[in-house]
Amino acid sequence: MTAAVFFGCTFIAFGPAIALFLFTIAREPLRVIFLIAGAFFWLVSLLLSSLVWFISVQISNKDSAAQQKGLLIFGVVLSVLLQETFRFAYYKLLKKANEGLLALSQEETMPISIRQLAYVSGLGFGFMSGAFSVVNILADSVGPGTVGIHGDSQHYFLSSAFMTMAIILLHMFWGVVFFDACEKQRWWAVAAVVISHLLVSCLTFQNPDYVASLIPTYVILFLMGVWAFYSAGGSLRNLKLCLTCKDKDFLLANHRSR
């Protein structure tokens, strides 16, 4: 537990997300604004679920540990469902706002497409979710101490960092798939997103057993990543062209002012 652990865990947890932010979002003011708005929506959903959990704890039997754990699990499930509800609400808001913007500006192209919004909002959700999960842990890791001295796992910090990274990226993929499914009215895909979110959260219930929770999470991350890639319009051909810098559309698009 020193600066090494702190920096290492911070970069593991937030590295990919910050890189994504710096390279794709930081230069466009509109995207930054929608990212922060997405973070705000996630925050509100967390607030509501905490409120419900808090009330349920107050009216429950505080001495029974089993009941408390049950309530916590209930809180987690409720929180996941509320997060997805707020993701849908944000989608609706963005659709309305986009239509409004389009009407106002009387241009044919919107200043920001719904796909970009999906990506940005997913990342906003992810940032906030990851930050709330891990920042306190990181702050503690700077100080003195020995991890797991009372018999708990010694890999607490590292596993938290990896889990956070997975959650942030998953939120981004969920955002892309969710918005695309809402656009195309594919409700089974929306349900699949919700179920996979629930699955990932429930996997963490096994948690000191990191093999059982982290590995399936990363499998789901990979699958969701592939799904998001395809629903965003990617394909193997695109990927090849992009990697060999031969994709003319992409190169053109990068230089367009809008």
Partner: protein, 484 residues
């Protein structure tokens, strides 16, 4: 103040579009700029922009002959669409131009609070404005004391605002200017000396007085020059952020807890009332300034893209007595002479409307003279954009009072919340979203709006909700390592 910004901008617009004698191309450029400006101003009119706007008004002496008649409708319509587009584009850019300094200021305050323990220690010292202690025996007594403290503070603020309005009405510009100068002096030298001393104490750095004196001297003098005269834009922005952070830290240290939250709440309400009510002091101030066709005395405003040419001591002053009114006046008159385009007076229409005067009053400091500091913070010699300024590079302005209160909220949250970083993060996001919403409302209503209420309201709600509801939930989750 926001009022100020808006009304003046509109006036300016009208006057701009009325400049018929100008070559049509110029007129349209002017119109576009002022429209774009006002759009951007709408996007983020800072009340500080009031100065520029009023200055803009005063630039119309050139074009004084024309009353604000109706513009040729045709031209306006074709401009409307472009303006909306401009509004949109520049609105987002201006929001970001405000996000960055506000974030920086908050980061500085939070970093200081977390590392330098001086600002969270309770030395038993209090400001003279908050004489009632909060370490009482009963909760009821504490509540009563904090209400009394907040009442005293607000009364002081209201009195100060009225004094300011009176001073302005009776044209005592020199008094105001001297006041501002003194308070920025105090801030840049004394408060930064204390800050540096505490930082050295925290990190156990030994430094001799000679080196310290040289450092503080240089810091202070360069600061005074940048803020009151001329300096590189980034340096000026950095100084403004630093002094806002210093003031916020002073507030955080010397205001007891319940008093601080109460004051934040009451100040947002006061801000709302003072800017929107017809008899509000700020509104009176704005109207007086408009009547006289003068810029409202300069305040300390953070401006993002323009290099403000501030002429404190100009040789070729116009007939005006007041130096402050004179300098923007003179600059605005210079501008049209220098080139036809920059007759659009408002420097920062993209600015944010905020309650600058009330913010001026909200000075808390251990010294009597900190009222001046407050005012100082609010005051800045108004500046004119240099003639070569690109139309598209309209900047935004935000009053330093807003910086101070936002940072104070976030700093207080990080100092006192037991949920630590979650609460700080939540308040930070809430304030940014409040800022965004205020700008959006501004763009929709195109009317002056105070910047404090929405952000502070969100900040307070999220502070208390996160600290009391979310924190236990997240703590329990972290304990079991559950992820949501």
């Amino acid at each position: 103040m926001a009022n100020n910004a808006e009304d003046i901008e509109n006036n300016m617009d009208q006057q701009q579009t009325n400049t018929v004698p100008e070559p049509p191309q110029e007129a349209s450029v002017t119109r576009a700029r002022s429209r774009g400006g006002s759009g951007a101003g709408g996007g983020g009119g800072d009340r500080g922009g009031g100065e520029g706007d009023v200055g803009g008004n005063s630039s119309s002496p050139e074009q004084n002959g024309q009353p604000p008649a109706a513009r040729p409708p045709l031209v306006v319509e074709t401009e409307e669409d472009e303006d909306e587009e401009l509004t949109l584009k520049y609105g987002a850019k201006h929001v970001i131009m405000l996000f960055v300094p506000v974030t920086l200021c908050m980061v500085v305050v939070v970093a200081t609070i977390k590392s330098v323990s001086f600002y969270t220690q309770n030395d038993g010292q209090r400001l003279i404005y908050t004489p009632f202690p909060e370490d009482t025996d009963t909760v009821a007594q504490r509540a009563l004391n904090s209400i009394l403290n907040a009442t005293i503070m607000i009364t002081v603020i209201i009195v100060m605002t009225l004094v300011l309005v009176l001073l302005y009405k009776y044209r005592c510009y020199k008094v105001i200017q001297g006041w501002l100068f003194l308070s920025s002096l105090l801030l840049l030298f004394f408060f930064s000396y204390i800050y540096l001393k505490e930082v050295f104490k925290t990190y156990n750095v030994a430094m001799d007085y000679f080196t310290l004196a040289i450092i503080i001297w240089n810091f202070g003098v360069v600061g005074m020059m940048c803020i009151h005269w001329k300096g590189p834009l980034r340096l000026q922005q950095a100084y403004l952020i630093m002094i806002s952070a210093l003031m916020a830290l002073v507030f955080i240290k010397y205001l007891p807890e319940w008093t601080a939250w109460l004051i934040l709440a009451v100040i947002s309400v006061y801000d709302l009332l003072a800017v929107l009510c017809p008899k509000g002091p700020l509104r009176i101030l704005v109207e007086t300034a408009q009547e006289r066709n003068e810029p409202i005395f300069p305040a300390l405003i953070y401006s993002s893209t323009m290099v403000w040419l501030v002429n404190m001591a100009d040789t070729d002053r116009p007939k005006r007595n007041s130096t402050e009114a004179a300098s923007p006046q003179q600059e605005t008159q210079q501008a049209p002479i220098a080139s036809p385009t920059p007759s659009s007076p408002s420097q920062d229409d993209g600015g944010f409307t905020s309650n600058w005067i009330s913010n001026q009053e909200h000075q808390l400091g251990p010294m009597q003279s900190t009222e001046e500091t407050r005012r100082e913070i609010q005051q800045m010699p108004s500046a004119r954009p240099p003639p070569e300024d690109d139309d598209e590079e309209r900047g935004v302005k935000l009053g330093l009072g807003d910086f101070i209160f936002y940072s104070m909220l976030v700093g207080k949250a990080s100092a006192t919340a037991s949920g630590d970083w979650n609460t700080t993060l939540a308040c930070f996001v809430a304030i940014l979203i409040g800022l965004c919403l205020t700008l959006l409302l501004l763009a929709i209503f195109k009317k002056a709006l105070p910047a404090l209420p929405i952000s502070i309201f969100f900040g307070l709600v999220f502070y208390f909700a996160t600290d009391n509801l979310v924190r236990p939930f997240m703590d329990k989750l972290a304990l079991h390592q559950f992820y949501i």
